[in-house]
Amino acid sequence: MSGVALPDGLVAVVKRDCSTCEMVAPLLRELAAAKPLTVYSQDDPAFPADMRVVDDTNLAVSDALDVEVVPTFLRVAGGKIVGRTQGWRRDEWRALSGVAGLGAELPEFRPGCGSLTQDPDIAARLAARKSETQISSRRIQLGEREDPFDAMHARGWSDGLPLVPPTPERVARMLAGTSRAAADVVAIVPPDLAHCSVEKVAINAVMAGCQPEYLPVVLAAVEAACTDEFNAHGVLATTMAVGPAIVVNGPIAPAIGMNSGVNALGQGNRANATIGRALQLVIRNVGGGKPAGVDQATLGNPGKYTLCFAEDEAGSPWEPLAVERGIPAGTSAVTLIAVEGPRVVVDQKSRTADSLARSFAGCLRTVWHPKLAQTCDVLLVISPEHARVFRAADWSKRRLRDELVNLLTLSGDELVAGYGGCAEGMPPRYAGERVPKFSPDSLFLVHAGGSAGMFSAIMSGWARGPGGSQPVTRAIKP
């Protein structure tokens, strides 16, 4: 027991809403007349009537004593509990009290009732109270007539959609989703380069609508975003319409109910929707990155609300993205890539890998601009019906990449600025060269989507390489 000094003698914890407590109430009055006895009442300080009762309606003592059942009956000596029973057990009550004839008219045994501390809602509040010492964020008391949703918008915390109020109880529950300490620093978040603790991530995850079991994924995503390689500052600040896409691999994805199937890139799945949103809220609230502030996107894209999905590993002909990027199979991981919104590759006729690759290449030709090459990474989300074609042809990811690079090795003459009556294009030095639109390592392939439909998706990236944003993969820690 911690934090509560118990008086020596007998101690009973009771509640009015318990028939066993009502049954023993006359005995408690009898004992109080003869022995030092302290009675704590969980729900009504006037119960038991006609005796001195200590109000424990805030459950501080019950919680500190880990009371699971009422009545709980204790003997305390020298501030320490030396005997304990719960419910009504006549022999044990007699032994603890030292009163031989106690409760002679009562049955030998009667079970007690659940302590109020075991009520799920109350247990959550108590957990929050216990973790108060580890929660260090500023507490904001809203006015009685203040609508919490409006109040949070007014403080500039929202992406435009309603937020879940981050009460201490909800944040405490969220923090239970990770084994990491609340005060651990997860990352230095741009653009304000602010230290971001696990607790701050948890608060923003609550606001985004996350469940506690999503928190490890959000933490890994924040860590990945705030690396020099990913360059979240640049991704946020650029005038281009890009934002982070989060691809989740490994056993955590099905375990937390993520969607990798029908409508994988769309709405309707809580984990997909709120994990991506939580990352954006961390950048907004902890990093201070807001539209029209450091975020100077000309157009932006809807993925900047949230863009997170899981790879369908079970149905894939290929190794998962994270495994390809050095994470051991069976280990969960996130991969972040800065991308535009998805565009669809429609090919409902190809039944050979060669033909389908040509469709992919034709659509990929236009990313950024048909006359620009070697600019960006691309995330290709290949649907099951398209993947089936590559599986039947026994094409590996590497084979597909190589074919795409070959199909998109273009005449420099036709790419240079000014060619075809179009001022945009590559510098004049590319004239006379054969120019690959992409290098193989700029094509990232993942498998996701519903089982019906010969549609895949292209999400093209921002400036690639160390001078822009590089995809980053991080293992998810429990």
């Binding site: 929660i135 964020s137 500023r138 507490r139 904001i140 008391q141 809203l142 006015g143 009685e144 203040e146 919490p148 949070m152 915390w157 109020p165 981050p166 009460t167 201490p168 944040v171 978040v189 304000d192 602010a194 230290h195 971001c196 701050k200 608060i203 923003n204 606001m207 020099d228 360059n231 500052h233 640049g234 650029t238 809220l281 609230n285 902890v286 990093g287 201070g288 400036a463 160390p466 001078g467 822009g468 944003s469």
Partner: protein
């Protein structure tokens, strides 16, 4: 009962600093010109260099490694140590 919520921000207060005093004269002043590595930034800065040198300024040129990231600290310190003012060029 009113609701208690936790602050999701970094809880820092913005610090307001006064602007540095404007330069009284360009003649003899060491001025930095920072190219952020955007295409054609050099065109703009070359012209500025001509115009400022005509007014007697001493020009020191600097380059950011990439426009996509904030200037490295070493570069910022170098500019601070060598110049009384800096002009940063965006272009495209």
């Amino acid at each position: 009962m009113s609701l208690i919520i936790l602050d999701p921000t970094n809880e820092r207060g913005p610090q307001t600093r006064p602007r540095a005093p404007r330069l009284a004269r360009l003649d003899g002043a060491a001025l930095g010109l920072l190219d952020i590595s955007k295409p054609r930034g050099d065109v703009f800065l070359n012209r500025l260099e001509d115009l400022l040198e005509q007014r007697g300024a001493h020009i020191v040129r600097f380059h950011k490694p990439t426009f996509t990231k904030p200037a490295p600290q070493d570069l910022r310190q170098q500019i601070h140590a060598n110049c009384v003012a800096v002009i940063e060029a965006l272009a495209d």
